[in-house]
Every structure is written in C-alpha cells, then in structure tokens.
Amino acid sequence: MAKILIVDDDPDITESMKVVLEERGYKVICAYTGEEGLSLADKEKPDLIILDIMMETADKGFDVARSLRKAKAHKDTPILMLTAIEERTGLSFKKEAGDEVWLPVDDYVEKPLKSKELIKKVEGLLKKR
C-alpha cells in the first residue's frame, strides 16, 4: 500500500488526516516543519506528499515544494498542497526568475478538508503515477 508523507505544522489537522488515510489503508508519516519534511522525504521516499502552504512563515510550503522538486528522488512525486482561501485568489503566488515551474505542485485543495475530498484527491494523484 502506498506511503504518504504529511508536512503540516498543525498537529491536530495532521492527526485527523492521518486517521482518515490510515483507515483507508495507507501508511502515513508526519513532519511538522519544512526541514523535518525534507529529511523524512529523503529517508522514507513517500509515494505522495501532502504539503501545507503555510508553516511558520507564509509560503514556506512553496520553498519546501521547490526543494523537493530539485531533488532527483522526489522530482516526480505527486505533491498535494493545502491552501487557504487567500492563495486561491492568487494573491500570494509569486513568480521567481529562474524557476522552471512556478507552482511546483500537482494539485491544491482548500483547508479545511472533508475526508471524502482528501481521499478522492489522494487516489487521483496516486493513480496518475
């Protein structure tokens, strides 16, 4: 069964997602900071990464996503980004010169997330692989 890494600094939201995914049969590992996320990604090599956009600082999620994409091991790993409403309207999307892909994630969902929607998104992304 697939292995999923959740990177989110909110332990309650992380735990609730973990419960839903584990009941579904996935193996779930959690990281609570960007750095922890990157090191766990290297160590565990997950099949899917769920990434929160805002940890400690706004847009920290983007930096983590970009770092993941730069690493060979996770270049093609599907990333599901958790956003809040402001990001949906494009206000904090930044385009940086030199970046090939400015939005280095495969899909994004708005928090809070219903369990059915989470499962649907996760299965959809894993199927694409």
Binding site: D10, D12, I13, E15, S16, M17, V19, V20, E23, A84, I85, E86, R88, T89, G90, L91, K111, P112, L113, K114, S115, K116
Partner: protein, 450 residues
Amino acid sequence: MEDIKSTSSLIERLYWCIRLRWIAVGGIISTVVFASNILRMPLEVGPLYGIALFLGVYNAAFLIILNSLKKKAPLDITSAANKIANTQISLDLFSLTVLLHFSGGIENPFIFYFIFHMIIASILLTRLASFLQATFAIILFLCMVFLEYKGLLRHYPLEGFVPSTLHNNILYISGVSFVFISTLYIAVYMATSISSRLRQREKSLKEANTLLNEKDRIKSEYVLRVTHDIKEHLSAIEGCIEPVADGITGALNERQKDLLFRARDRAGKLIFFVKALLEITRLKLTKRIKTERFSFSDLLKAIAEDIRLNAQERGLNFISDIDPSIKDIEGVRVYIEEAIHNLLANSLKYTPAGGEIIFKAESTGGRFLVQIKDTGIGIPEDELPHLFEEFFRGRNAKRIEREGTGLGLSITKEIMDMHKGRIWVESEEGKGAAFYLEFPKRLLYNESLL
C-alpha cells in the same frame, strides 16, 4: 493631493469667470445700445464698444491659454493658474475703469460694479492678493476721478441722466471716493474672511476623512488577523470531528452520531461565516490587484452549466441566455465568478420548487449586463435599501435559512465596486427578485484597480 485639488478647482473657477465675462460683454453692449438708442443719451459709443471688444478678445485669449494649460499635470500649473487669475482680475478692473471714464466717470452709478471684482478676487486669490487688487482698483478709480477733475482728462457726461457738474465738485468726489475706498476694502476683508474660513473647514474635513479611512484600514487589518486565527482553529476542530462523525474511526451509536453531526454542522457554518468575513475584509483592504483578460463567455457558460444541474435537482426551471457576441472581459476571474455565483446561489436557495431562474448576459455599448431573475420569495420593499449592507439578512430569507452570514451580497457589491461596475435589484415580495450586474468593458487602469 491638497494642492492638486485646489489647483483644479481654481481652474474650474477660472472657466466660470470666463463664462461670466462673456455675459459682461453682452451686458455692456446691450446697455450701451439701450442708453444711446432708447434713452437717446449722447454717448461716445465708439470707445464703449471698443472696450467690449477688448474684453471679448482677452477673454478668448484666456480661454485658449486655459485649455492648453489644462492638458498639463496639475502640480506644474499651480503658479501659472494663479498668475492667470491675478491678470484676469487686474485687466477687468482696468477695463471697468476705462468704461466708466467714457461714460460719466464718477457720475456713473455703475461704479458699484467694482464690488463684483472684489468678491471674485476674494474667492480666487489669496488674502494679500485680494487686498492688492482692491488697492489697484482704488488707484485706477482715483486717477480717473482726479484727472477728470483737473481737466487733464476729458469728461464724458451722461447727459439727461445726471448733472455733469458733479465731477467738478470736490466735496462730492471726496465723499464718494471715501465711500468707494472703504467699501472695497471692507468687502475684501469680509469676503476673504468667509472664504478662508470655508477653506479651513474644507481642510479639516479632508483631514478627518483621511483619518477615518486610516482607522477603517487598521480595523480591517485587525479583523483579518483575528479571523485568520479563528479559521485555523475551526479547521482543526472540523478536521478532528469529521472522521469520527463519518464512522471512519469505528461504528457509532445513534446518540454519538447525532451529537457529532450537530457539532460538525455548527463548526461548518462557523467556518463558512469566517471565510466570508475574511473575504469581504480582504476585498475592502485590497487597493491594488492584478486584473487579467479572460473569456467571459466561457466563464458564463461554465457557471450556467453548474447551476443548471443544481436547479434540476431542486425542481427549478433554469433558463440561460448568453449573448454570443460576448467574448473577453478584463477583471479578476475568481471574483467575477464569485459575484455571479453568489446571486445564482441565492436564487437557488430562495426559489421554491416549481419556480424559475433566468440567467441572462448581454453586451450593449460600453458595458456587459448580467441579469439574474427568479420567481422566488422576493425582497420586502422596506428592506431593499439595506440589502447590500454587511450582516443584513431579510426577514423572509431568515425563514428559509435561519443562519446565514448576511455577507454574500456585501461581498458581491465589493467585487462590483472593485471592477468599477454597478449592482442593483428590483423585487416584489412573494413574486421574485431580479439582480443586475453591470461591468464596464474597458477599465481605465490596466494593471490596478483602486
């Protein structure tokens, strides 16, 4: 900002003076015609018409100068505008004096007309400049009177109107001169006092307004921070309740299910409310947003399809009529989508089964008009003016949905304001409602909406 506004209002007033001067030219000509042809006064009409012509000519010159000045940026032209104002008034005073000289001098009752120039000077110029113009007027007047008295300048009497010996009467001219001088100075003093008091009041109103706007902004930023935090916690609460309520962590007995469902519902409603509040606060704070050009027709069709399915499920007849000539629009796509969607969602909510919703979009002239009409519960007449206020909920709406945010229409209105559009409503309670959204086709500013 202060200077720009006062310069542009000065320019407006100068245009007003030019209009007045045309009237003055007409007045002079008609008075001369009347006096010489009807009253049969033996006047030297030549010089009098000459002054009228002179007035007309320099008025036209000022008009041309002002028109070319208006094209430049307001800050560059402040001193030029002031010079024009002063020059106009001085020339007017000179013209009036010459006019009076050729028509009886001190014996002509039209010497009262100097007052008009004092009033205008007090409005247009600084206090010092106004007093200087008054002094200039007095000097011109006294020169004319004195030179005529001394015989150095010919006197043109108004025969049959007034005894032409008055201009030689030193007592008379002293008396009139004294009254003239005092009248002009007092008039300027009074008018400039009023004028400066008005300017002060305007200034403090402007300052109060700026302060209010600043306070509103601070409040909005505060609301933003607070609701953001609230939303974080609510999301976590909902996230934790949901899997349990859905039975994912194990089967629940009826009681557990019931209470958890209630908790989840309320958390959901609160999140919905907080999101709406966040949205409208953010809309208010947004000064500069990036607009894009996108296919309005695609958006309208997508919304129509989405609503059609929804309407069918509720047993409502949905008619969409989108003008095929609609192509692109400039704006923020998610906001425009939200504005239209809000209105349609309301129609779905407040129209009972068997009813009808009409979604129409047309392109006329310089604008797009989107109409959303339904045969729903409608809006009571006394509530129509308050409809777009924040947190306002209609009483018959409350009967259908007890807890609503009252923010949907406010958000829609903010979005329309942002796009320099308009929104209005027509409704009859019990019969239905029709909402109209008007979008301009071209925005004045390309990248930002202020």
